[in-house]
Amino acid sequence: MQKDSEVRRGEWEARLADIKYMIHLFRKNPLVMTGTIISLFFIIVALLANFIVDPRLATTEGYTGGSYPFERKYMWSANHPIVWGPDIALHDGPEFFYLGTDGWGRDLLSMIILALPVDLYNAFIIVVVAALLGTTLGALAGYAGGIFDEAVLRITDVFFAFPGLVLALVFASMFGRSIETLQFAIILVWWPPYVRLMRGQVLSEKEKPYVEALKALGAGHLRVLFRHVMLNAIYPILVQATMDLGGVILTFSALMFLGFSPSKSLPELGNLAADGYNAIFSAPWVILFSGLTMLIISLAFNLVGDGLRDVLDPRLRR
């Protein structure tokens, strides 16, 4: 006779073997591995951002007088060792602004590093909330069918017919410029696709014989939906969510860029890019590097998502 703990270990090992196989599939694809490594790198940097960056490089304190930001020169690293205003002495020995400085005279590299946690955190929050909202609603609609399904579908129809960015912008401009408003505005336009995706998944999943078998076994609707159907249907959602992380970072920063930023000096990639836009011809590096960072993060998430799609493809597992 077995003990409970042994039961659990058996289960656990079986699932581990399954995951190992997925990791194997994952590792076979060089693009996906690159994406994974890059996104992990960015996440780690974001987590440690406040420890990495010298706060003195990221303040506007050195900037004295004049109207923002053209008084202080944008500087390009190669020829400009850090000379920080008349009253600030930095470390011993020469240091460089590796990516130049921004319009506030701050070190661009430091600003980008500081922007990472802001952007990543917002992207995670937005995607998680939108995905949770959308999948739950979609799953319920798909499983229940009937009038509820029809109602949910019509509501998403309306949201799909909206110009997404306009809705977000109107929302953001009406409720004031704060990070929370922006998050809410993006969630508002980002949840309907999850409803459709999950609903479609659940619809196809609930036709499968195993669902019928569960019903014949006497399993209740909640058990069937949440313990079986959703677990089987969730994988495309994971893929979508991973890829959306990139998309949301782009949208979030686009809103910031379009002037919905709560503060111009907030370290955020869209903000930095907007700043760079003001001096696009004289100091192109600012917009170049801030945009490039967005590109790389977004690409990395997309690569991971793309690979996840292949790995989680049930056809590979038969």
Binding site: M174, A254, L295
Partner: protein
């Protein structure tokens, strides 16, 4: 269900969608004390306080919000759509919108053509050479496309093709704006230029379109290439492809006759929706390139809290999207004989 019955059904739904969109936008733009006052476009400095009072009364701006909605509704049925104040003067919203709309259509058409002609081949190559070098390259291009911040890419194009090219003395492309329209016949600038034989204008307009089109299509061709790749891979796994090969058909025939038609079905959806959303104006791109389309106008209007213009814009956009979805569904029925409505 017959096709026309299906279309009717969808059109009835469209009415409900439009109502919902208008109510939502109306309350969002009028319900909060932001932006300029809705009566601002209707008044000018010369008016006396009484006159202003009268205007406000006439347009119902003193009524509760839900009544204002019906005042707006009345304006819509009058064909006026209210006045917009974004451009300083009290211009009718629909005039501003439809003056700019042809420019947006032009950009949408160009960008869509570019997207299709690059995205689909890219997807096919990717699928046929699955997991080989060409696949990796085209996948990276595709993924990079939609991982790129659109405004950033636009600036990059401007920087290189306009600024640096002119610095280096190379023939450069215009970075922004569009030439002013000489004559209006159909409303579409390029078409009008061709009709009147004004080739100089046509060329000028075309040159101005290049950078925004590239910028737009680079972002979207990735989506298309991915869809084509995925569905092509799926189709190539099907039994009827084995059958086609077993008949001794050339690989070219297998791919283009047997696989492509099946694989293009999902791509049609994407292209349709993509085109429709471009018709609604690629806001950021139009803004970056100062392209005088409706997207740029909408962006400005949002900044001003210009309720009338945003309402008109959203409704047209919603209509376009719903109709595009409908068109896609109808196209399905032609592409796939199995689909019946």
């Amino acid at each position: 269900m017959k096709l026309y019955e299906y279309i009717i059904r969808r059109l009835i739904l469209l009415v409900f969608v439009l109502l919902a969109v208008s109510v939502l936008i109306f309350y969002l733009t009028r319900g909060f004390e932001r932006g300029f006052a809705p009566w601002a476009p209707y008044i000018n400095e010369k008016m006396t306080a009484e006159q202003i009072e009268e205007v406000i009364k006439a347009h119902g701006f003193d009524r509760p919000l839900h009544e204002q909605y019906f005042y707006w509704f009345r304006d819509v049925f009058n064909g006026e759509w209210g006045l917009t104040g974004t451009w300083g003067l009290g211009l009718p919203a629909n005039r501003v919108f439809f003056n700019r709309f042809p420019r947006t259509v032009e950009l949408a058409v160009f960008a869509t053509i570019l997207t299709i002609s690059i995205g689909i081949p890219l997807g096919i190559i990717s699928a046929v050479k699955n997991n080989k070098l060409p696949d990796h390259i085209s996948r990276i291009i595709a993924l990079a496309g939609y991982s790129t911040p659109s405004y950033w890419f636009g600036f990059l194009l401007q920087l290189v093709f306009f600024y640096y090219f002119s610095l280096w003395g190379l023939p450069n492309l215009p970075s922004s704006g569009a030439p002013s329209i000489a004559t209006r016949i159909t409303g579409l600038p390029i078409l009008d230029g061709l009709l009147t034989g004004n080739l100089g204008f046509v060329w000028n307009e075309f040159v101005h379109l290049i950078l925004p089109s590239i910028s737009l299509s680079f972002i979207s061709l990735g989506f298309l290439a991915r869809i084509v790749r995925a569905s092509m891979l799926e189709v190539l796994r099907q039994d009827y492809i084995t059958m086609a090969r077993s008949k001794g058909l050339r690989e070219r025939v297998v791919i283009y006759r047997h696989a492509l038609k099946n694989a293009l079905i999902p791509a049609v959806t994407l292209t349709g929706i993509f085109f429709a959303s471009l018709l609604g104006g690629a806001m950021i791109t139009e803004y970056v390139f100062s392209w005088p389309g409706v997207g740029q106008a909408a962006l400005l209007a949002v900044g001003q809290g210009d309720s009338n213009f945003i309402l008109l814009y959203s409704l047209v956009f919603a209509t376009i999207i719903v109709l595009a979805n409908l068109a896609v569904d109808v196209a399905y029925a032609f592409l796939d004989p199995r689909i019946k409505y």
